[in-house]
Symmetry: C2
Subunit: 489 residues, 2 copies
């Protein structure tokens, strides 16, 4: 039995030491250890284990429907019609929903959304997207050929970063990302082996972006890599700020001067709540700055069906628009996306509806508008509520939640708590959030998962729980923070 | 206006020379230049341009619904119910469809399939998959924790290859793939910068796999890289063979001895047509070979909702099962998939239905079985028809289409045609397929897109067009081949 013994001693081919080293460096806090623990606590609660709380409230992720937000009726009607076209004979469905469904089905091979589509996405949907962008941007033209439908915004962002990553050592592509950032960026850069270049948002000025900080960060990076990309998230995740038009102009001018490819993550474009704030797309500002900018600066802008008033995260829909992309590179992009065949067709369909919703004279218009406005109004109220309650807590300082779906308050932690955390080998805000979770069932993400200025601590909390629950949650955080501070002072 | 001029001279950041070099080497023939040309021809036909044909027939891709295959009613009913739960009150839907929908919705956050799910996929669906695998494999146990739901099989395959790719130069991971292969593999390896190791299937023995050829290929590769992975596609794509149980045992023994991680692409597991052939999963064979194999050999098996009798390509559903994966690596895998949040939930839902279809006493069982059997029977007839007609053509030699959805016949090309192709800078079978497309509107993929022994030429043709159309198509190919041969002889 020599062979048998030999086989039993066979070492694994794939071990932690022999695996892809880049993958090991990937971190993704939004679904990290604290969320693992939250899932475990939920399981324990179901099994009847006694806890100081009855339910786990997950305010860690922008998952609107999971927090009770209702889907838009019209969108779901059209999706049901597309998936089960027998319903086209059903009187319960409005005519405009049926028209939309027929149009999508006609564009599908064999009139089934079970067929593959063009890899870039269904033609007529890319036209819908282009018209949407033109309306949004006050008539600036949009070529459907520049639109790529995606499997959520993350898919598009990773694809563009992939194209841009090249070189070795000091010529390796560097990518500027805001700190705090949405950790998809750091995760994608780690996986691709690109160089992450941090620029810090100004917490004192409501997380605004200073060009001098971009300059500092770029200068420093040029010592050790080849900075080629500047990523902006607007409205901000996790920081909830909305960029002014002026700031966007400055950023574009900076990217033009410093030869940076701009990536604008604009998935929260409908989520603007604060008075005096408005969403300005990078595309629009770029084109209004004149041909010397609009003919030269390379820009990719990303959108998603997961946020705004739709919150349809599970359908994994999105698009990207690429502007001034070199034609040969664009052909490479089209080839690259073709390997994955096509984005999920239900997500593509949803994107068609988001960008071409019921029109004023159509039967579903009134209900659509009512649902859309109600959802956005509730979000605006919850943004305000969150900021207000958090700012009543001594030791918590929360900037206005101008947009997006998150607050990212600063928390002052006692020295003794910081020391104890470090003894546990934990970041102090992880230690804080873990304690919060164990004592109250509230699941937040520590600021260290997004990046923050050294010596400062934060957490990210979504504003998505229903208003009554959100109030309870905020008051529990308040109580916890006071006790925690007292215990460690 | 110095700034303006400066900007106008600004060179692009991202050019073909400065982009990711790995991406440039990616090729994907299934959606390559011939398909681009087919789309263009379709457009010209729509615009009224005269052609020697009335329609383009795309036999280039395994896209069943696009070729007229009907979706399974029960699957679409449940999907419609999940997307628009108001329909749960509708009498037109059978109770078992409603039960399935309620179960899925209950497992979704906020009872909406618009919520994110666990990154590995919804728990109860992974249980469905595990039970399906246990039934398929005669009771060999399957742990739902080893199941990862995916965005189609391609997503899973790329993810596992990503984990496995490490090292530099002579220590770089080498991955053994069959030639002919499905070009997702070569594309993924190019993108990851892993080393592609070719082993040739034996066309003379109905595309069977010889262990001596694996041995030859492995020995040669060890000179210049670190071979760690062996990929098998069974039933075969593009070659349509079904592996014997004995051959699978030999492959497993080879992988055990040579310390190779096994990747089994089993997306055509229901597509077995030839008498005397049966699908044997690598998992089952591995476990039946005894603990010295089943406790040691690392295996990842992939499945999809896109093939078999479902053909739901557009929904992008799939799963992978990982066996004997190192626990630390598995934690890394779980982390890695979390960055993309979750697979599309409609695709996950469909996978639940595929692995847990209507049971004998449920109201939808009879219709489900009727539809399933009819679809598979028609495919079996078309497999036979394809082989038979192609083999009537002098200069075309087609192996039996034992399984999957493709024929991959060898074509004998006259020397003068080969010469002319080379003068055009084209592969001879690309030259042949382009001519076929221009003259008949039939879109096939040249064998060179999949790899083939030097000096041999092939094309891949799906068996999916409706039987009457398939017959016409095959006879047109016959006529074309005869004329082409005559013209160049």
């Amino acid at each position: 039995m020599a062979e048998k013994e030999l086989l039993n001693q066979r070492k694994k081919v794939l071990t932690i030491d022999s695996m892809n080293a880049n993958v090991k460096t990937v971190e993704y806090a939004v679904r990290g250890p604290i969320v693992q623990r939250a899932l475990q606590l939920e399981k324990e609660l179901r099994e009847g284990v006694k806890k100081p709380f009855d339910e786990v409230i997950k305010a860690n992720i922008g998952d609107a429907h999971a927090m009770g937000q209702q889907p838009i009726t019209f969108f779901r009607q059209v999706l049901a019609l597309c998936l089960y076209p027998d319903l086209l004979n059903d009187n319960k469905f409005p005519d405009d929903a049926k028209d939309r469904a027929r149009r999508i089905l006609k564009a599908c091979g064999g009139r089934s959304i079970g067929s593959y589509t063009a890899s870039q996405g269904i033609d007529c949907i890319r036209q819908d997207v282009a018209h949407y962008i033109e309306r949004r941007d006050g008539g600036i033209s949009c070529d459907p050929d520049n639109i790529y439908l995606t499997t959520g915004a993350s898919d598009g962002i990773v694809t563009i970063l992939k194209l841009l990553t090249a070189g070795e050592g000091r010529t390796r592509t560097g990518v500027m990302i805001s700190i705090p950032q949405y950790p998809l960026y750091s995760a994608a850069l780690a996986e691709l082996g690109a160089v992450q270049i941090n620029y810090y948002l100004n917490e004192e000025k409501c997380w605004s972006l200073d060009i001098s900080e971009l300059q500092r960060s770029l200068q420093a990076a040029r010592e050790h890599c080849n900075p080629r990309v500047l990523c902006i998230i607007n409205p901000g995740n996790p920081t909830g700020q909305v960029q002014s038009r002026e700031c966007i102009e400055d950023v574009i001018r900076f990217a033009a001067k410093e030869r940076l490819f701009l990536m604008a993550d604009e998935v929260y474009q409908d989520n603007v709540y604060a008075e005096g704030c408005a969403f300005h797309s990078f595309k629009k500002v770029l084109f209004e700055m004149g041909p010397e900018f609009s003919n030269t600066v390379e820009l990719a802008s990303f959108h998603s069906t997961s946020k705004c008033y739709m919150g349809e995260c599970g359908l994994r829909g999105g698009y990207m628009e690429v502007i001034n992309m070199d034609q040969e590179v664009k052909a490479q992009l089209t080839k690259l996306v073709s390997v994955r065949l096509c984005p999920p067709v239900p997500g593509q369909t949803l994107m068609a509806l988001v960008t071409n919703p019921p029109q004023p004279r159509e039967p579903s218009h009134a209900q659509f508008m009512k649902e859309r406005v109600a959802t956005l109004n509730v979000l605006a109220q919850k943004a305000k509520l969150t900021e207000e309650i958090l700012n009543t807590v001594p030791g918590i300082k929360c900037n206005p939640v101008q947009g997006a779906m998150y607050s990212f308050p600063r928390i002052i932690l006692p020295e003794r708590a910081i020391k104890e955390a470090k003894e546990h080998g934990q970041e102090p805000d992880m230690f804080y959030c873990m304690r919060l979770l164990e004592e109250t069932g509230i699941c937040l993400v520590p600021g260290s998962g997004f990046g923050q200025k050294e010596g400062t601590y934060h957490f990210r909390m979504t504003i998505l729980p229903p208003a009554d629950k959100l109030k309870i949650l905020l008051n529990k955080v308040k109580e916890f923070h006071q006790q925690f501070t007292k215990q460690y002072s």
